[in-house]
Symmetry: C2
Subunit: 633 residues, 2 copies
């Protein structure tokens, strides 16, 4: 038995079997609806308003996350609400994933061009009665004279080759992949049209770059939200969804491939480049993103010891994946390290050149998963921390992404009055990652919270008791875009920030201990990640997300994962470098390290329970000291 | 506007646009209907009886091939008859291609096994928290310890690999193609199951062999008619059909691939082997068959200088062609030479070892196209002659394939009385290739015809005037299966035999002249081809199809094309040998050789106008000498 679910305001309708959730209907109908926790009813972000149709009573999760009052008004969680007759629901603006403010560019060192594809223009002798050899033999002779010996001709190409040779009067351009295979034949001299695609598949965002392989120039760059977000905001949720069945895995894979194809399509339209002239695509992502892109079984990525299916560099044909570049084109995946430390970490290293540095560098690629790399010429250590989506505005009561109206900068005065800046200067709608870090750092600096994160300010109009305990009012409702609700930082929100930053810092400390380096040796901190560009380094240091180093030694390189992908697209030498980095880098599985637990608990304090490691911060903040050092049993 | 064509007795119905031919309807409906000339109305074999529906007046071709009397009774040619309203037609038995007597085995020299696929059983260390590397890295380590370094893992395989590794307790069998790519992973020790497929794609017949790659044994062998026959009996007709549109090409390709798949399927059912354990398929055929199998553009194969698209060995994935072996399996095509001399000629040489012989050998692979190879260790020369389907019973008034009831042996007494033998000892239904050669040779021996092929016997009950001139009655109608019509050899039939044998002999003579060898140097004649097994060597010599050599020096090796394909399946060393033969062999394009024309005209006489080259034959036959030597202008 099937019932129809209608989504407003878009008016999309879809029939689903009785007992299906409204979320599954939204997924199938392609309705933009947040699904951060992967349908478990934890995040409460998929709120919908039931306008028509009888619905079953609310679940416990709904009572908890939505509250009786809102439930009475018809609000429910789409992931919990099942269908028992035709229903119409309204999807409010705050339940949308929506278009986001995305940073996709990153610093990229110069690379000597040596791409995996080359074009050559040749004039082939046409066959005659006295020289009737096969087309492929004639071509091989001409190419051999140029020192080229492609032993393969792609099947798609050989089917169209004879006509093109003759239509082109035997003057044609060949594209050769990996000095081994002819992957295109075009009439006339088309050697000037040689392009590739670099892709950074972030857990949250997807960035696509089209690169001219003759001069290395970026001619198109665009980002969108990773369309897989509808299957869960974090990697664990997505792994859970994709592991349930082959169909689910294919669905999640299709989402990212469709997303990449749509960006490529946009790029082709904007630049006038032809699809057939995109010959290679190099993609990076953490291990989960890597696997979901390739459609690999991710079941075991979700369980200790989290082994990836593919660790080494992997090549697959565009045709096999359904990627819309030249059919015979190649998809190159950079090597993964282990656990969730994937090809993106290798790309970060390639772009930041840590492996060539004489002095010790700490790199954090901040995202829903944060990759932490510590090292220099002498050696590299890496780990991955599930820092969570707090810095991306999720798991935060008034959290939102860095879209219009998001509070991105916060200053709190000594009188606890608040100054703030929003994205696009719009009226405040919520608070995004950098705003949250600012707010918590400022509360710490002014003493509105103590070092354990507890809100200690009392008797001030900005502090009040909310449903989840104390909360600090950043913006009173009169000033907000909606005009209906205050924008607050709750005690729970502060706890989320503490957990996220503690994970990162403890990751760093664990690598420090495992590598045998000393704290004093750390010469530089690099913050990477699209998100990283907006963080105030001072405040990151105040909350103890990063170790206390001079501000001038902290740099932001932006989306270095994308940079590393472009570098590998431009040069096979860099690919070899990537493989040797992957072989050399030591992976530290935090779940196996008691040090990590110890440092995590210490780092739950702000800046840390080891105050001696943060002397400047400790001296500058008014937050009461309530730290307790963790002692391992 | 569409009309329905109904075919009896099968009762198949199909709707086609007004103006379509009944032949095109039969092709689309999959009705078995002979189409020897490719729909030009020349061969007259697609006779159908119109039972219901008004039809347009007959074409000139129909008047010529069917005759007014039969037309009055409702008989028409399916390729000429167009549809203008719903029609019902009866397809008589003689218009069927039907099941044929096929010879598919051939002589095969021993080959040291060294196949392109290998299986290894390994026990892989499972990942642990302290050794969490990727599955592929773990496998690479185990294989490296065995001296193996497959740098690729097929995309289909990597998707299923992690589950099989774990389900199999990390004890698995890998299949490695070309020492380069993992193409299968199976739980437990499956090293005993390693099979391949060899395919000989003849213009007329298709033979499929399943070979055990561990011991080289043939465990299944089966032949069917090449299903492409419905698109034309000879290569030129098929090229014409396939060149008309991409759809036609795909249709012709699909026919052969479906045919191969059906034979493979039958083999799997009979042997209990699993599809996934067939890892490679090696196919041979003449250039046109090679191209139509791969779906390559054959347009230029039909025009001088007949250059193939692919001359070198070619590899393509089973998946790309839709061949039902292991998805990641490889299809290997042996190299072509040039013109129509294809991979089958290379296979013939591999099986007959001509290239290793000290003394000069002539090889003829007799078929609708006959490949002629002349040579020895010192060098190889080759050409292809369009000998036509006469020896396969086509273009012959009472011709039929070597099916039940076909006359395959003929003896004519000095009183012109006829003794004959039929396939399966059934009542005579027609005459097949070996019977035609016998009949013509016997007529020559007894003097019923003269050396120009003219029927000179007069005033005997076996000779009469038919529609197409004189004819010799082999079997009176009372003795035939139908009981209705005499089985005759017409003057036209003799002409067809002369044309076919003249083409072969002239091909041989042209190679002889081009190579510079002397006639006396010829030490052996090898007749290959499925058809060849049934030819009486004495009679082949009498009609001058082959040069006059001692009968003991003439051998029949059977289907050596299939043998060569199996040899290459079993050993990559033989593949290298094939490539060096392909490079070394000299191709002679007969269309460019005036010698060919000269020798062809001389060879139209039987045995030849150069009687000095056939002293024994000349002495033994009673046929009047009316030969005239051709002199080139």
């Amino acid at each position: 038995m099937e019932f129809e679910v209608k989504f407003l305001p878009e008016g999309k309708r879809i029939s689903v079997p009785a007992g299906s959730t409204v979320m599954s209907a939204a997924l199938r109908a392609g309705v933009d609806l947040a699904n951060i926790c992967g349908g478990k009813g934890f995040c409460g972000k998929c709120l919908v308003e039931v306008l028509d149709g009888n619905v079953p009573p609310p679940t416990d999760q709904e009572r908890k996350r939505v509250g009786e009052e809102k439930i009475k008004k018809g609000y429910r969680l789409a992931c919990q609400l099942t269908v028992q007759e035709d229903v119409t629901v309204q999807v409010p603006e705050q339940s949308r994933v929506g278009r986001q403010r995305l940073v996709i560019m990153g610093k990229e060192p110069p690379v000597a061009l040596n791409p995996n594809v080359k074009k050559v223009y040749v004039e082939v002798a046409p066959p005659s009665l006295h020289d009737p050899e096969g087309d492929d033999v004639r071509i091989a002779k001409v190419l051999a004279a140029m020192g080229l010996d492609p032993v393969l001709i792609d099947y798609e190409i050989i089917k169209k080759m004879p006509k093109i040779l003759r239509d082109g009067g035997w003057k044609v351009t060949f594209t050769i992949l990996n000095n081994r295979e002819i992957v295109n034949v075009q009439p006339e001299d088309r050697t000037k049209e040689l392009y590739g695609v670099a892709v950074d598949i972030g857990t949250t965002k997807l960035a696509v770059f089209i690169v001219d392989l003759l001069d290395g120039g970026i001619i198109f760059a665009e980002g969108i939200m990773n369309p897989q977000i509808r299957y869960g905001e974090d990697v664990i949720s997505r792994i859970g969804y994709a592991s349930q069945s082959d169909e689910n895995l294919k669905e999640v894979q299709k989402a990212i491939i469709d997303g990449i194809n749509s960006l490529i399509q946009r790029g082709l339209e904007e630049t006038g480049i032809k699809e057939e002239d995109l010959y290679e695509l190099v993609a990076v992502g953490n291990t989960a993103m890597h696997h979901l892109f390739l459609g690999l079984d991710v079941k075991w990525l979700g369980f200790s010891p989290y082994p990836p299916v593919v660790g080494r560099a992997y090549n697959v044909r565009a045709k096999d994946l359904g990627i819309r570049i030249n059919l015979a084109g190649n998809i190159h995946m950079l090597p993964n390290v282990a656990g969730f430390v994937g090809a993106d970490a290798i790309a970060d290293i390639l772009a930041s050149r840590i492996h060539e540095k004489d002095r010790l560098i700490l790199l954090m690629d901040v995202g829903t998963n944060t990759e932490v790399v510590l090292g220099c010429r002498e050696g590299l250590w890496s780990c991955s921390t599930a820092s969570g989506p707090a810095f991306e505005g999720a798991h935060i009561k008034c959290g939102m992404r860095a879209a219009s109206g998001a509070i991105e900068k916060v200053k709190i005065g000594d009188d606890f009055e608040v100054e703030y800046g929003t994205v696009d200067g719009e009226k405040a709608r919520g608070i995004c990652g950098s705003g949250i870090i600012d707010a918590v750092a400022e509360m710490l600096r002014t003493g509105a919270i103590d070092m354990s994160g507890k809100i200690v300010l009392q008797g001030h109009k900005r502090v009040r008791d909310g449903i989840d305990g104390k909360e600090f009012i950043l913006v009173f409702k009169e000033e907000t875009a909606s005009g209906r609700e205050d924008i607050v930082i709750t005690q729970e929100d502060i706890r989320e920030v503490q957990k996220a930053k503690a994970a990162m810092y403890a990751g760093y400390m664990t690598l420090m201990r495992k590598s045998g380096f000393r704290r004093e040796e750390l010469s530089e901190i690099i913050i990477a990640g699209a998100f990283g560009n907006y963080i105030d380094p001072e405040n990151a240091r105040i909350i103890g997300m990063i170790p206390e180093l001079q501000i001038s030694k902290i740099s932001f390189l932006g989306n270095t994962a994308g940079s590393g992908a472009r570098m590998c697209l431009k040069s096979t030498d860099v690919r070899r470098e990537a493989e040797s980095i992957a072989k050399a880098i030591k992976y530290v599985e935090l779940a196996a390290e008691p040090i990590f637990e110890e440092e995590y608990v210490n780092a739950m304090y702000m800046p840390n329970s080891k105050l001696e490691d943060f002397p400047e911060v400790t001296a500058s903040v008014k937050a009461p000291r309530v730290v307790r050092r963790y002692v391992r049993r």
